[in-house]
């Protein structure tokens, strides 16, 4: 159907799109294709290896899902602090993903859980790792006529998860900085670790230099301080209406310190 349609966009929850349309920020859009009737794109399933989150799953359903709380607690934590209850009852994880905002609340957690994005144009399906799916500021690899069908999250066992977001308020708040972490220790040493930082670059950043430093190490005070210093050099925050680059760097470091201290005790 969308092959014949011009100047259109897809609508999921609408919590960002409707505002943009009403503020006339998308004057080129003349048609809206409402996806909300596609109930097969809603819901969370699991098998032994993975969880499968339909793109139209509401943030409130992610927040309340036993599967997400058990295997992906950082994502559940992120869902809890997205917007407000009213927004969470409309907004979808697919919408948060496709918006690809650098401050998208669910994104850092999706990065540390190694999310794979399933896209479709109605005929053909692609599976794309999230780091290749989001290419820049509000940019994804989605082509015209393609939608996100679902998000695959590989399950991990005995991992430690962390998510924290800094903002002006506790709710209805755009984040100044956020940190997500997913890691595994064996005999006290870090065997595997993924760290993602939000709101400190044009897109969510996987802090790979910080991860490489931490891998194989025991979490002692000096290690944590060094990791925070490496993160500070890895992120590229800006100063804008919401915060300064200095504060964003500082709070990202504080959140990483908090995450690593908790990971040390895990």
């Amino acid at each position: 159907m969308t092959k014949k349609l011009k100047n259109f966009c897809f609508l999921a929850g609408g919590t960002d799109l409707v505002v943009q349309l009403k503020e006339n920020k998308l004057p080129q859009i003349k048609n809206i294709v409402d996806l909300s009737a596609l109930t097969q794109l809603r819901g969370i399933k699991e098998d032994k290896k993975n969880a499968y989150i339909g793109a139209l799953t509401k943030i409130s359903d992610i927040q309340n899902s036993d599967i997400i709380k058990k295997y992906f607690p950082a994502l559940a934590a992120a869902a809890c602090c997205l917007g407000s209850k009213q927004i969470r009852n409309l907004a979808t994880i697919g919408g948060n993903l496709v918006n690809a905002s650098p401050i998208g609340d669910t994104l850092p957690s999706l990065f540390v859980y190694g999310a794979k994005i399933v896209t479709t144009n109605g005929k053909n399906k692609k599976i794309i790792p999230i780091e290749k799916f989001i290419t820049g500021y509000r940019k994804t690899v989605l082509k015209q006529g393609e939608i996100v069908k679902e998000i695959i999250l590989p399950k991990t066992m005995n991992y430690f998860s962390f998510f924290k977001k800094a903002g002006q308020r506790k709710a209805v708040v755009m984040s100044k900085a956020s940190i997500a972490l997913n890691g595994l220790k064996i005999s006290g040493k870090i065997k595997d670790i993924k760290i993602a930082a939000g709101s400190v670059g044009p897109r969510v950043l996987r802090a790979k230099k910080t991860e490489n430093f931490l891998r194989g190490k025991i979490l002692q005070n000096e290690t944590i301080i060094n990791a925070v210093n490496i993160l500070a050099r890895e992120i590229t925050p800006i100063t804008d209406v919401r915060s300064t680059a200095e504060y964003r760097t500082h709070i990202s470091g504080e959140f990483l310190k908090e995450a690593l201290c908790e990971f040390a005790k895990h």
């Binding site: 609408g14 409402d34 407000s84 209850k85 009213q86 927004i87 009852n89 506790k170 709710a171």
Partner: protein, 153 residues
């Protein structure tokens, strides 16, 4: 233009509306249910809160066409045969209304909570109301009103 059928306050309506119309605009302009208020039009203040299929939502963020087939409850539904709902009575008795502009949205958010959880904790009340701004009351009396209404139910 698109035709939709919605149930608002237990009454069925079939309407032809522009695709760009929000649920808030439909309620206020097509159905003259002006109890639901327009505060910010961006989903940040909660003055437009209504209950759709049991969930509190910002009606300014929902396109009316997306409400096709939905059951919607607005503030007008609460009073029945001249009797105020326990939430409305509690808001009055506790002094939780000053200018009153946020009140319909506050009450609908609170109702959505109490419909699902009859004995919420203080934190659950605050979370349910976190998307509703009030410039007048300082929120304390609003929270007391919701607690009081919960006890009445």
């Amino acid at each position: 233009m698109t035709e939709i059928t919605i149930i608002v306050n237990n009454k069925k309506h079939t309407l032809t509306i522009p695709g760009s119309m929000t649920l808030l605009e439909l309620l206020r302009e097509k159905l003259s249910l002006t109890g639901t208020k327009e505060g910010c039009s961006k989903g940040e203040c909660g003055a437009c809160t209504v209950i759709v299929n049991g969930d509190a939502v910002n009606s300014c963020l929902m396109l009316a066409a997306q409400a096709d087939g939905a059951e919607i409850e607005t503030i007008e539904a609460l009073e029945k045969n001249g009797r105020l709902h326990p939430l409305q009575e509690a808001f009055i008795n506790e002094g939780a209304v000053q200018c009153g502009f946020c009140t319909p949205g506050m009450i609908m958010s609170a109702k959505a909570l109490l419909d699902k959880k009859s004995n919420p904790t203080d934190n659950e009340i605050k979370t349910a109301l976190e998307g509703n701004l009030c410039r007048c009351t300082g929120y304390a009396k609003i929270i007391s009103a919701v607690k009081s209404a919960a006890k009445q139910k």
